[in-house]
């Protein structure tokens, strides 16, 4: 009967809608629970001294996390300073030059694999490639440093930035390149003056995504930056970071330090939130300027 079949179809459709809606509801509830719990526990430990004080060494009055917040921001800046130029340059190579030269597809494949490498592996790599050689060179016992930590973070950023840059440059219309070359521009001038600027918005989105990705990393820093209780701005020393400090406090025995860890997590999430918000703003601005095109 046609009406019976119609009934079945309607039921199937309703059931599918129900399942999807239920799944979505579960996910959103979980997210809200996690962030609500974080705010509930973490907010209690956040006060002015959290942002202005450094660890005291007294477990009952552990002080604040100023050193770790600053440390994380400096580490991110250093990592971006190393990772962004290398990543963007690799992306330009892959998109603009590789067809005239070798290595394009192996490089692309390696970049894709590197994107998925567990971050603890990157930490060990940083230890072996930066910490150990620097220790030998300076005859220190072990030279953990902020530079080593930044290098490890940069290593995670490079493949992400490179692949995003490549994809975004490929989206730049061929007519821009032809137009520029036909006016007597060299290839380098074409890339620097026309191709890269017209993909600027989407590339910066990719860069910020990469920064957001490494902002929450702990494992790569364990064997490289090591962490520090001191307020230091010298990246050649063992260097503090929010994630490392959270790790240390959260795995320790003292309840006051555990509270600080909760607060640290909240601050870290806030930083990620701001970065993601920035990404959205840049992306929508970029979309708006593109609109004027047609």
């Amino acid at each position: 009967m046609a009406s019976a079949r119609f009934e079945t179809r309607r039921l199937t459709s309703d059931a599918m809608f129900g399942v999807c809606a239920a799944c979505a509801a579960v996910i959103v509830t979980l997210l809200l629970l996690v962030s609500g719990y974080l705010v509930f526990i973490g907010a209690g430990a956040i006060n002015l001294s959290f942002f202005t004080d450094v660890p005291t060494g007294d477990v009952a009055q552990p002080g604040g996390m100023r050193h770790a917040i600053e440390g994380t921001l400096i580490l991110l800046a250093l990592a971006a300073a190393i990772g962004v130029p290398l990543g963007v340059a690799s992306g330009v190579y892959l998109s603009e030059y590789s067809h005239e030269w070798l290595f394009a597809s192996p490089m692309r494949f390696i970049a894709d694999v590197l994107t998925g490498v567990p971050s603890i592996v990157v930490g060990i790599l940083g230890y072996e490639l930066v910490v150990v050689p620097v220790s030998r060179w300076t005859s220190n016992s072990v030279s953990f440093s902020g530079y080593a930590g930044a290098a490890a973070l940069a290593f995670i950023m490079i493949p992400i930035v490179a692949r995003t840059t490549e994809e975004m440059l490929r989206l730049v219309p061929k007519t821009y390149r032809e137009g520029s070359l036909a006016l007597g521009a060299s290839k380098a001038q074409t890339v620097l003056r026309v191709v890269l600027p017209s993909a600027f918005g989407s590339i910066s989105t990719g860069i910020m995504l990469a920064i957001a990705r490494v902002a929450g990393e702990t494992a790569p820093l364990l064997f490289t930056a090591l962490g520090s209780r001191l307020l230091t701005r010298d990246p050649s020393e063992p260097f503090p970071s929010l994630t490392l400090q959270i790790y240390t406090y959260a795995t320790g025995p003292y309840p006051e330090q555990k509270n600080l860890a909760w607060a640290g997590i909240l601050v870290l999430l806030a930083i990620l939130f701001v970065v993601n918000l920035l990404i959205r703003v840049v992306a929508s601005r970029h979309a708006a300027t593109r609109m004027g095109k047609s």
Binding site: H99, P173, T175, Y176, R177, E178, G179, S180, L181, A182, L183, G184, A185, S186, Q189, R193, V194, P197, S198, T289, R290, G292, K293
Partner: protein, 320 residues
């Protein structure tokens, strides 16, 4: 010209066919002939040259004496081009007259755009392109070993099918060619910008918003901007690759008037699939077919008294 007449390639773009309706009064110099009383179509043997070309031969093109009498700025000599295995241009030999507008016409795939892009070696960008023969620009070989392609392209200007302003300000678009040559002098840049925009008949529309993004201009304005950008460094030849195919009839009209105006200063080589446009804007017309030059002469002659039946039937829309 009868308003109902359409040329044989019914392209969907608004800028091509609908033109004749939008503008009943064509420039009087040359009118496209309406089909005469001759029977439509006719047996294939009516076109011995086309048949020979289809068999893979390269018949000698019919080049009028009027062309040979002109001073030459661009000399194409037995030029051949292959895309990988397939040959796109067969022994093209044609002088291009200095200070005139020369149009390349022919059905799709006849190689007219390929020939145009060979002049500034833009085909070099395509993998697997191979050429033989020569093109000389004012006596300097374009394809000789050791030619600096960048210097060569600085001597030519090019405008593409779709307007392609760069995503930067109007001013920066116009002076791009000067910037990449290292011009830093602000006064010189501003003067050159104004001059080029005036020549491109765009100055009055954009003089108050030179700093605004070129992306905000209309399609027709963008194309005139591209023309300004192409003439800012006073090229020896201006190459136009179907510059109106993406434009509406009114924008097309303005571009055609513009071509007419700048032809007093520059040599123009224009590819068009719109024969009426060729008739309106050009002094000389070359008819190409399957990578061969078929007939080449004064536009008035080619459209009114062509020497070949093939050309006559093509320009009147009976074949092609």
């Amino acid at each position: 010209m009868p308003a109902s007449m359409t040329h044989p390639h019914s392209h969907p773009q608004p800028g091509s066919d609908s033109r004749s309706d939008a503008r009943p009064e064509a420039r009087p110099e040359v009118a496209v002939r309406a089909p005469s009383a001759l029977p439509r179509g006719g047996p294939a043997s009516a076109y011995p040259i086309i048949d020979a070309i289809k068999r893979g031969e390269t018949p000698t093109p019919r080049i009028h004496d009027s062309v040979r009498a002109e001073p030459v700025i661009l000399a194409v000599n037995n030029f051949q081009l292959w895309y990988g295995q397939s040959k796109a241009l067969h022994g093209i030999t044609m002088p291009v007259a200095k200070g005139k507008v020369t149009a390349l016409i022919g059905p799709s795939g006849c190689g007219k755009s390929t020939l145009l892009r060979s002049v500034n070696r833009l085909n070099d960008l395509i993998e697997g392109v191979r050429v033989e023969g020569s093109i000389d620009l004012n006596g300097n070989s374009v394809y000789a070993r050791g030619v600096d392609v960048i210097d060569l392209r600085k001597r030519l200007g090019m405008v593409f099918q779709k307007p392609n302003p760069f995503p930067m300000s109007i001013f920066e678009n116009v002076v791009y060619a000067l910037r990449i040559s290292g011009e830093r002098n602000k006064k010189a840049l501003a003067d050159a910008c104004e001059k080029a925009l005036r020549q491109a008949a765009l100055w009055d529309e954009v003089k108050d918003r030179l700093k605004a993004s070129a992306m905000g201009l209309s399609g027709g304005q963008q194309q005139r901007l591209c023309i300004a950008r192409a003439i800012v460094s006073e090229p020896e030849v201006l190459l136009l690759d179907e510059p109106c195919s993406a434009l509406d009839p009114i924008a097309t009209l303005r571009i055609e008037e513009l071509i007419h105006e700048i032809s007093s200063r520059y040599t123009v080589l224009i590819v068009t699939h719109n024969m009426q446009q060729a008739a309106r804007v050009s002094d000389y017309t070359a008819f190409m077919y399957l990578g061969r030059l078929v007939e080449y002469g004064r536009t008035a002659d080619l459209f009114q008294v062509p020497q070949l039946r093939e050309t006559e039937d093509y320009v009147t829309g009976r074949f092609g």
